[in-house]
Every structure is written in structure tokens, then in C-alpha cells.
Symmetry: C2
Subunit: 454 residues, 2 copies
């Protein structure tokens, strides 16, 4: 898969009509290839990090007036020579220029190939490279912050520290193997035990953080359920009221695939289409129950709404009992409070915690949002400095944890060679996250999910 | 409409997910505003045309790692200070950065406002500014070449020369007005007549060039007509065969609004949906005839196809007679030649020029393309160095021509003041093209059609 000798080219900006498009070239010959089709100052003689106005020419034919950015190796994203051509945003022109570069010795870049080169050339480790894709896909403050922190190496540094500590012991135990006949212990078993405990705890905490990290990265699946006329649609509109414009005024984002996106304090909540639930709730023991429950079981949060002036104690308790699922947080919301007086409100049938609102009059909606945020996020935030958001990292951490548990179990009983094997396994899986250990398949798998041009 | 004191900001690249997005700031304070949210080398102290890696920060919060391009006035597109931020291509990040700039004193740019400033600051004249939009919209070699030539000032220079010559006479005639009592002639009437003739001829030629210019810019409307089973669809596919991939492999281009785009020697031919014609041709005198004729009358070129082995002389002549329209070139194509022998081919019923092909076997398709190109383009190319592609320019040229004809008609009869008025009118309309004469309305009208960010 990996050929690094050639110079690659791709459009780095989105397709479509815009004022400008940026075409990126990277590789040893990037500057000399650009120079071949360039009318302007000699690019091969210019300093790195400079901008040059000029023309792209194909023989006698001028293709465009452009501005060229020059990044001389190793001072570039890929640590190779990089040239970026900022041309007029016509698809015809962009395509013509890319073809021209290919005619002059470049090759069309594969998905993620620029970032792959940045990784292979030591500019980024693997988890940082993955953060680049996360950053591009980020659609909320929280997801952007996590991705940026990962890109900046926060996660990598933490793993590196754990790894360094383990490596020390691994080498001491290796040493013991060399002196196996003499039955010496270079690696203090108590210290190893303590260290392994510490690392296992850290790894365990990272594993636990995935639930939250994943919710932040992909949004918190949230179902609104309730009987007909409980005011679910009005509630949905009240919740989305101001936020809607913010999430939807740039076209082409995630809105195509999900019903509605609600942003509370930088976290996206995906409000799942509850049409099934809407129809099913009054015959909840009957035919719709399975579909309803499926939707709820795929969610992290359930907002159950009832009409405070209408529902009977029996129906309310039955609904709540039926909808409750282990591991899914339920918020109980009494709606249409504007139609009740204080006395009636005090006599609401449900005895558990209830958020009393009027969706129609937009009363206590902010309070509800606060509760939604708290229910999904707040408790989990405690104690997690780093959040794991990537399922590949989760799996590697889980395998690391398994290996470390084997180390702990065997530390007092097994011989150095078995201990050494388990520690090496832990090191291997930790190394997979940052790319200290990789295979072509792994890289292919990761970078093929990138967009072309990155 | 026109406020130039403030600093404007917009996304310069298309919306959508891409590796990077480029945000453009222009105005007196562009660099100081960028510096306010910047972590990296002090941008206010850097040279023009340099690139800087750094971070965009909102107080304590980092928004992204970016590369910033610096263009110090007047060495920029707008001749103002310009800063371009190349950030990760997440809509969330792009939106956050734009909002941050607005919070720090920039204003969201209106459509075309960067180019408007380039015009107002004398970087481009009006027809060059319009060429920027044409260049972005260009979708073929020919349309791109015309737009680029116009951007480079070819058209403007030609108009400027005409204008300079007229201005001389205008000033001499003005002088005559000052000495009106003395009945002197500073402006030689014969020379003026000769010059006006020359200019009128050039203007006339430019007006004539619009038909071709417009065809090149917008594509040549081409209808394929013929009886059922004449092989129209097969012909369409044979024509599009190789070209199709070229015009369609970048999504979001003009393909949504037209049926098929065929590129011959850099010219786009818009093959109009002929479903109406297909059904109507065998009952051509009947109900479908009006719709068919409407489509044909909107086209510049008609390709009439018939089945060489099937049609009778009577039907053929009747079709051709019915389809022929003044001003629309018709190509007569005999299809299914592979089923006939030489003798049969020699005995084809139509006596006019016929292109004999087999759409199915792809015989003589290149020859047909050559004939299509020649019919639409070749004859018209002669004698036009500059092609007018813009209807606003066409109208201004027509008004110039009218004024010049009034000059010619009156030159021997009317007094200096009338002559002066007509010459000034001609100058006015010529000046409108390049923007020597403008109104806010005119500018508003032109630039509001641009995309935002250009």
C-alpha cells in the first residue's frame, strides 16, 4: 500500500462551487512539478512559507491565475515538500489543474494519504492522525475540543508515560531471562505489582471514559416518548427553538441522517424520531411495544412526557414501569403546567423526581435542558481528564487491560518468561494506539476512512 | 451599499466536508483582528506573502490549528490587508472561527464583496470583475479561456482604445461650444465621421460576437429530433460515450438542470431532452407540433436523425420541411448505415448534405461531432478576436451603437451641442462596461450574483 517516493496531488477543499479551491501537492518533487506548469517567480528558488502570485500554464494555454503556497520539507504537514495552489473555484479549472499535475509526474492521492505520510514521517503519531479526521468531522464544541486535544498529543502523551514505565520493567525482566540459570530478580516484583495496578487503574478509567467520549463525539441518542397529546412535538420545538438555526444553517451536515440535533453546552443530543413511540404508547403492551423498546434500548437517554392535567396515576405508573430500561437514564417531564394551579401541581400523581414544564409557553425549558445535560454528561465528567472516543483505541485498551490482569495474576507464581510475554503484549496493544506498532492493514483501514485531500 | 471602512470576513471555499476550509478577511483591520485571536508569531510584524502556522483561540479555548496567509495592502486581491485562515474542514470549526472574527470586529461579507472592493480599489475594472464570476462558473475549456482573457483585461483594453479616441473628439467639440458665437470647427468633421465609422464597425462586430460568446459561455442548445426508432437514444449515447465521464465525475455541476452535456473541442453542447419531439415527430402536423417547435426554436442547432433503411422520400422531405426554422442550423443524419450496402447508401432519398453514420456500431461519430462543432462554431469564429459573453455588455454596446449612429446621422447637419450629447452618450455606455461610469444600483446588481467569499 505505502509508496512514498512519488508526489501526490488532490483537491483539499470540498467539491462544489466556491470562490476558491485549494489543490495540494506533496512529495519530493512537488515543487519541481509545480514549477513545470508555472509562470511566475522560480518556485524552486523561493523560501519556505511564502506565497506567490502567478499563472498555471499547459504549454501555451493559461489555465488560471493562482496564488501558490510553498512549504519546503521538512517544514510542512507531511514533512515533505508541499505546494498548495489556490485557484478560482470552478470544477473545470480544478480538474484541469489536477490533470496537468498528473501529466507532469504527480499521482492522484488516495484517501487520507497526506495524513498517512505525516504519520509515516513522524509528524503525527497514529492517534493524532486519527484526531485529524475527528476534527474535520467535529460538529460541536465538545467533539471539537476532544479531537483538538487528541491532535495536540494529550492522549498520546498519557499512553507514552504508561508505556515508558512498563518498558523499564520489561527490559529488567528480559535481563532476568538472560540470567535464567542463576535465578536472580532484577525486576522488583512488588514494584512491578504496584505499577501494574496503577496502570491498570488508568487504563480502566480510560475504558470507562469511552461511553462519554463516544456520546460527545457522536452525540447522545435521546428519545422523547409519551402518550398522544402529551405535547411531545411542542416540547421538541421548544427544545430546538434557538439552537435549530445554529445547527442547520450550513447545509450538508449530519442533518440528513438524523431527525434533530440539539446542542446543550457544546454537547450534541440526537433527538431520535419517536413516531413509533408516539403511536405505540397508548397501546404500549400491545403490538408497537417491541419497536418502541428497540428505539429506547439504542438510546442513552429517555425523556418521558405526560400531560399533567390528564393522566391517571395508574397510566402514569404503568408507562414509567414499561419504559424503564437498565442503563438508560429516564427523565420524567410533566407538561402543560400552564393549565394547572399550584394546588393541582402539588398533587401530581408521580412521586419520583419530575421536571414540571409548559412546552407551549416555553416555561422551564432551560431547566429541562440543564437536567438533560446533567443526566447524560455531568456525573461522567468527574475524574476523566482524557476521553477515549475511538472504538479502535477502546479495543486496544481492553486488550491491554486483559494482558495487565494476566501480569497481576501471574506476578507471584509464573516465571520471568511468561511475565515478559504478558508485559510485551500489553506494550504491543498500547503501541497500536499511537502507531508505535502497526501493520499495513491497520493503516489501510484507518486512512481509507479519511477524505481525499487530507 | 458600499462601506469600505470595515473589515469583512467569509468562507472562500465551498460548504461541505473537505480536508480544509479557507476563511478570508479583508480590510484595514484584517491583520489586527486576526492577531487578537491568534497564538503564534505576531502577525502584525510579519512580511506580506508569508505563511504562518499557529492556533486560533477564543480566550482560553483553542478552536483549531491553522495555517495563516498574510497579504499586506496593497499587495492583495482587494488591495486591502488580507488574511486567509486555512483551517480543518469542519463546518463547526469554520462557523466558530467566522463568529469569532465577527465578535472581534469583522463583519460578514456580502456576496461578491471582496471582488467589489478589488474593483473600487482599482485592482480590476468592472468587466474584469465580472470575469472572475465567469471564471468560477466556467465549465469548459472555451468558457474558461474567454473568462480568463477578459480577466486579463483583453476586452477592457479594446474598449479603452475606442473610448480614448472618442474622448479626444468630445473635448474638441466641447471647445467649439465655448466658442459657439464664433462658429469655428476645432473638430474636423471628416475625421470624426471616419473615426465614428470605424468605432461603429468594431462595436458592431463585438455585438455580433455575442451569439457565439454566449454559446461558448452557456453551451450550445442542441436538439436531437427524429421519428421513433430512428436511433436517437443510441446516437445520444454514442455521442456522449467518452465525454460523459469527463463532464460528470465531479458532482454538483450544471448537470442537475440540463439533460446532457457534450463537450466537443472545448465547447459545451447542451443536448436538450427531446422526449417531446420523439413522441411528436410521427404526428408532426398534429398536437405535439407546437411543443416540439418551441424546443427547437430555443435551440441553436438541430440534429435530425432518420433510419436510412426505412424512411420514404415523402416522409423525409416532410420532416425536414417541418423542422426547418430560420436562424437554426440543421444537420441531417442518416442512421443505421451498417444495415445497408454501398448501393443502398448511394440511393438515400435526401438530396441535401447528409452525414451517414451508424450510432449502434459507432461509425462516423467523430465525423458527426466535427460537423456539429463546425455548424455551431467554426464559421462564427472568423474575425472575432474578442467575444462578448455578458448580456450587460451586449446591451451597453447596443446603446453605444445607437448613439454612434445618431452621431453619424447628425454629423453634417446638427450643431456641436447635439453632436456633443450623442458622443457623450456613447462614451457613457462604453464606460459602463468597464465601470468608468457606475451607479450603486449597477454594482449591487452585478456583485449580488457572485458567491459569498469572492
Amino acid at each position: 500500500m505505502i509508496q512514498q517516493e512519488d508526489t501526490i496531488v488532490a483537491l483539499a477543499t470540498p467539491n462544489g462551487i466556491g470562490a476558491i479551491g485549494v489543490i495540494r501537492l506533496s512529495g519530493h518533487d512537488a515543487i519541481t512539478i509545480a514549477q513545470k506548469v508555472w509562470k511566475g517567480r522560480d518556485l524552486t528558488k523561493q523560501a519556505s512559507h511564502t506565497l506567490h502570485f502567478g499563472r498555471i500554464i499547459d504549454g501555451d494555454i493559461e489555465l488560471d491565475e493562482v496564488v501558490t503556497s510553498l512549504f519546503v520539507a521538512p517544514r510542512s504537514y507531511t514533512r515533505e515538500n508541499v505546494v498548495e495552489i489556490s485557484c478560482h473555484g470552478s470544477n473545470y479549472i480544478i480538474e484541469s489543474i489536477i490533470k496537468l499535475f498528473i501529466k507532469n509526474g504527480a499521482r492522484a492521492a488516495k484517501a487520507g494519504e497526506f495524513t498517512l505520510r505525516a504519520f509515516l514521517n513522524g509528524q503525527l503519531d497514529l492517534s493524532q492522525a486519527e484526531a485529524v479526521a475527528d476534527l474535520i468531522a467535529s460538529n460541536s464544541k465538545a467533539s471539537q475540543q476532544i479531537a483538538l486535544q487528541q491532535l495536540r498529543g494529550g492522549f498520546s502523551n498519557q499512553l507514552q508515560q504508561l508505556r515508558d514505565q512498563l518498558v523499564q520493567f520489561a527490559s529488567l525482566i528480559e535481563l532476568e531471562l538472560d540470567f535464567a540459570e542463576e535465578d536472580v530478580e532484577f525486576a522488583n516484583r512488588d514494584q512491578l505489582k504496584q505499577l501494574t495496578h496503577t496502570i491498570t487503574r488508568v487504563i480502566g478509567s480510560l475504558i470507562q471514559s469511552f461511553e462519554l467520549g463516544n456520546a460527545i463525539k457522536n452525540g447522545v441518542n435521546t428519545v422523547i416518548a409519551g402518550r398522544p397529546n402529551a405535547g411531545k412535538s411542542t416540547l421538541l420545538n421548544a427544545l430546538l427553538n434557538e439552537e435549530r438555526a445554529i445547527v442547520s444553517h450550513i447545509p450538508g451536515t449530519t442533518r440528513d441522517t438524523i431527525e434533530e440535533l440539539l446542542n446543550i453546552q457544546g454537547i450534541n443530543f440526537r433527538l431520535i424520531d419517536t413516531a413509533g413511540i408516539r403511536e405505540a404508547t397508548d397501546t404500549i403492551e400491545q403490538i408497537g411495544v417491541q419497536r418502541t423498546m428497540e428505539k429506547i434500548s439504542q438510546s442513552a437517554l429517555l425523556i418521558y412526557v405526560y400531560d399533567a392535567g390528564e393522566i391517571s396515576i395508574a397510566d402514569l405508573n404503568s408507562d414509567i414501569e414499561n419504559l424503564q430500561k437498565p442503563g438508560i437514564t429516564m427523565l420524567v417531564v410533566a407538561n402543560k403546567a400552564d393549565l394547572l394551579n399550584d394546588e393541582q401541581l402539588a398533587a401530581l400523581p408521580y412521586t419520583g423526581k419530575t421536571i414540571i414544564i409548559s412546552a407551549k409557553e416555553k416555561q422551564h425549558i432551560d431547566e429541562l435542558k440543564h437536567e438533560i445535560y446533567n443526566a447524560a454528561i455531568k456525573d461522567q465528567l468527574t475524574g476523566h481528564e482524557t476521553l477515549v472516543t475511538n472504538i479502535r483505541h477502546l479495543q486496544a485498551l481492553q486488550k491491554t487491560e486483559e494482558a495487565l490482569i494476566r501480569v497481576l495474576e501471574g506476578i507471584d507464581f509464573v516465571t520471568s518468561d511468561f511475565l515478559s510475554m504478558d508485559i510485551k503484549q500489553a506494550l504491543h496493544y498500547l503501541g497500536e494506539i499511537t502507531g508505535a506498532v502497526t501493520t499495513d492493514d491497520l493503516l489501510e483501514n484507518i486512512f481509507s476512512k479519511f477524505c481525499i485531500g487530507k
